[in-house]
């Protein structure tokens, strides 16, 4: 195991993160958890805030996610998913669970226009920041701009496909067909993806 922190070598970084998560799962290794925390906690919080979660709530949810990582690390299987993917699903679910609970408590009307996304500029080109680190971003780079933009808006800003259609002022069918084309292309390029 190398402790290479060079950000320009993201493949070994992914292996390092998976190794840390396995150490937390098998040995309750607090030192490994601290390293995971340094990498992921700021990212999780920023990720949630890009989805229009308030700063205070983003802090709370990030703590819940980190705690869940500690508790569930033994169920992480590096053969099935990367550490980032596994943690992404925990963060996503924590966000949804919180939101659904608020809806059930009648604090929020899910269809209230207040909770529709405000007009925002298009996101920075995520791909450039990701530096083709993981194979998936390599695949994203192979997509035409219009298809890549749809996937970026879905994952970075948390827009549904119909919200993406509104944002880009496109017919719903156009967005759906871009999603289909992008996913077909990903499926072709990603036989080895699992």
């Amino acid at each position: 195991m190398t402790h290479d922190t060079d950000r320009r070598r993201p493949i070994s970084d992914a292996a390092r993160l998976a190794g840390l998560l396995e150490r937390v799962g098998r040995q309750r290794d607090a030192q490994a958890f601290r390293a995971l925390f340094d990498h992921f906690a700021p990212r999780i919080r920023s990720f949630l805030m890009k989805r229009r979660v308030s700063s205070a709530l983003a802090d709370d949810l990030t703590q819940d996610v980190m705690l869940a990582i500690w508790r569930r690390a033994s169920s992480f299987d590096a053969a099935k998913a990367s550490a980032a993917t596994w943690i992404y699903t925990i963060a996503r679910n924590a966000h949804i669970d919180h939101y659904r609970k608020a809806v059930r408590a009648r604090k929020i009307d899910e269809h209230d226009p207040h909770f529709q996304p405000p007009d925002q500029p298009l996101p920075d080109d995520l791909y450039e920041r990701a530096e083709a680190g993981q194979s998936v971003t390599g695949v994203l780079s192979g997509l035409p701009d219009d298809q890549r933009l749809v996937l970026q808006l879905a994952f970075t800003e948390g827009l549904s496909h119909s919200e993406i259609a509104e944002r880009l002022d496109l017919p719903l069918g156009t967005v759906k067909s871009r999603v289909r084309l992008a996913m077909n292309k990903m499926r072709q390029g990603l036989g080895e993806w699992k």
């Binding site: 992914a14 703590q63 269809h111 993981q134 998936v136 879905a154 999603v179 699992k194």
Partner: protein, 224 residues
């Protein structure tokens, strides 16, 4: 192979993987489908990998965190004995012969929703699990072998996920994990397979539209 209309349009998988579905009923429907269908699980897994890459590429250095890693470790230490799965109402008795997926059982437990069967038609029972504010309904259908659901159309879209047994729409068989998506304007005849009873989870946006006036009258008291 579950292909040819036994999975959904990719936009459903994108919204599910990105966590942007509109309602909890849609979450439950999609989570149940993903649990039961290999094809759906592969699609979602591919998209979640993309989500992981997005998380990893997020620049997290703009604002200092309001807590430290030691806070988390302290919480972990003090709550070590808590079982996170101890949900309120998790004791609800679920009929095992229904073959309900875990995602649906979890939903019923956490919301305290009972499964109450009512008459739907000859050989058919329904249990409404949730009604939305805009006429949406999440419900279970339980039908006896060989039952036919007469020619009907839809005023809104409807997803039907097979949980147990199978049904036929024309020459297409739908088995556990398969979903049929019906749109407004699509008309179909459904026949339950002779082999055994069929249980489906359905998410309906508008009322069903039967051609026969008798069946239309029937809707008044069955509530579909």
């Amino acid at each position: 192979m579950t292909q040819r209309g036994h999975v959904l349009d990719d936009s459903w998988y994108l919204d599910y993987a990105a966590g942007t579905l509109g309602t909890e009923a849609q979450d439950v429907m999609m989570a149940s489908h993903v649990e039961l269908s290999d094809e759906a699980r592969d699609r979602v897994a591919a998209l979640e990998t993309l989500g992981g890459a997005v998380l990893d590429a997020t620049d997290g250095e703009d604002v200092p965190l309001g807590f430290s890693v030691e806070d988390i470790l302290r919480r972990a230490g003090s709550e070590e004995d808590e079982t996170p799965s101890a949900l309120p109402g998790a004791t609800a008795v679920v009929d095992e012969t229904l073959c309900l997926p875990q995602a649906l059982q979890d939903y019923l437990a956490r919301t305290g929703t009972p499964v109450r069967w009512g008459f739907l038609g000859p050989g058919m029972r329904k249990a409404i699990l949730w009604r939305g504010e805009h006429g949406e309904r999440l419900w279970l259908l339980r039908a006896q072998p060989g039952v036919a659901i007469p020619h009907h159309g839809h005023r809104g879209s409807e997803l039907t996920l097979v949980l147990k047994g199978s049904f036929w729409d024309g020459d297409q068989e739908y088995r556990p994990g398969d979903v049929e998506e019906a749109y407004p304007g699509v008309e179909h005849d459904i026949r339950i397979d002779e082999g055994g009873e069929c249980v489906c989870l359905a998410l309906t946006e508008g009322k069903l539209k039967f051609e026969s006036p008798v069946l239309r009258a029937f809707q008044v008291f069955t509530g579909l």
